[in-house]
C-alpha cells in the first residue's frame, strides 16, 4: 500500500475514533438527549450546547493554525469548500435535515456511532439515510 494512502487512512481513523468517542461521551448517541436540546419550549436539556461549544472552540484554534501551514501534515494540499453562495438548495436541504434530526434525535455521526450501542435501531437509521442520499443522486442524474 502506498505510504501516502496509509497515512491518510490512519489520520482518518484517528479522527473518526476521537469523533465517535466525543459523541458517546457528550451524550449525543442518546436520541433522548438530542431531542431534549431541541425541546426548547419544553423540558430543555442544554447539554448539546456544551458539546457544540467545546467542539467549535477547539476547531476555531485549528482554523487559526491552518493558514500558517504550507500543506497539511500528511497530505499535499488543503482541499476545503470554496463555495460561498447561499442557495435555496442549501436552505431546503438544511431545513429537511433538521426535521429528520428532530424527529428521531439522530444525525449522521451519532447514528453511525450508535451501531455498537443500539445496533438494530442505528442500522435502520444508517441504511435509510443511505437510501435518502442515493435518491438525491438519482434525481440529480435525471436533471
Amino acid at each position: 500500500m502506498p505510504q501516502k494512502l496509509t497515512s491518510e487512512a490512519l489520520v482518518a481513523l484517528v479522527s473518526g475514533v476521537l469523533f465517535g468517542a466525543g459523541l458517546a461521551l457528550g451524550g449525543m448517541t442518546d436520541p433522548a438527549r438530542v431531542r431534549g436540546f431541541l425541546d426548547l419550549f419544553g423540558d430543555w436539556d442544554p447539554t448539546l450546547a456544551f458539546v457544540m461549544g467545546g467542539a467549535v472552540l477547539v476547531m476555531a484554534i485549528a482554523w487559526l493554525i491552518q493558514p500558517r501551514m504550507i500543506h497539511p501534515l500528511f497530505s499535499e494540499a488543503f482541499t476545503l469548500p470554496g463555495v460561498r453562495d447561499i442557495t435555496p438548495r442549501l436552505v431546503i436541504g438544511a431545513g429537511l435535515f433538521g426535521i429528520g434530526w428532530g424527529l428521531a434525535g439522530l444525525c449522521p455521526g451519532p447514528g453511525i456511532a450508535a451501531l455498537v450501542i443500539e445496533p438494530a435501531s442505528a442500522a435502520v437509521f444508517v441504511v435509510t439515510m443511505l437510501i435518502g442520499m442515493v435518491l438525491v443522486r438519482l434525481f440529480e442524474k435525471d436533471a
Partner: protein, 143 residues
Amino acid sequence: MLAAFPQAAPLAGLGGGVLIGLAAAVMLLGSGRIAGVSGIFARATGVASSSLPRLAAWAFVLGLPLGALVVMAVNGPIAAHFLSLPWIAVAGLVVGVGTRLGSGCTSGHGVCGLSRLSPRSMVATLTFMATGIATVAIVNAFN
C-alpha cells in the same frame, strides 16, 4: 446556573465537545479536509466522489463506532433511548436527502463551518436548528 436543568451533563458535554473538536482538527491539519460525517459517509459508500481516498473515508466511518466502544469500555454502558423503527426509518430518509441537498450536517456545517465563520454554514446551522426545534415542538404537542 444549571440547577434549573437537572438532566444536563455540562462537563461530559464539554469533554465530548473537546474530543469532537480535536477530531475535526486532526482531519483539517492532518489531511487538509473537513470532518463532515455525512460527506465522508457518502464518499465511503460511493454516493459522492471527492479527493478523500475511499479507504480513508471508510477508516473514518468505522472509527465512529470504535470511539463509542472505547467510551463504553472506560465508562460502562451508554444510555440510549431510541424511537420505534418506523419513525427512525422516516427520519433516516429525510436526513439522507437533507444532508446531500444541504451539503452537510451537524459536523460539517455545525462544527467545522461555524468555527470557520462560513456564512453558508451559519445559514445551514440556523436553519436545521430552527426546523429541528419546530419538529420536536410539533411532535411533543401531539404526545
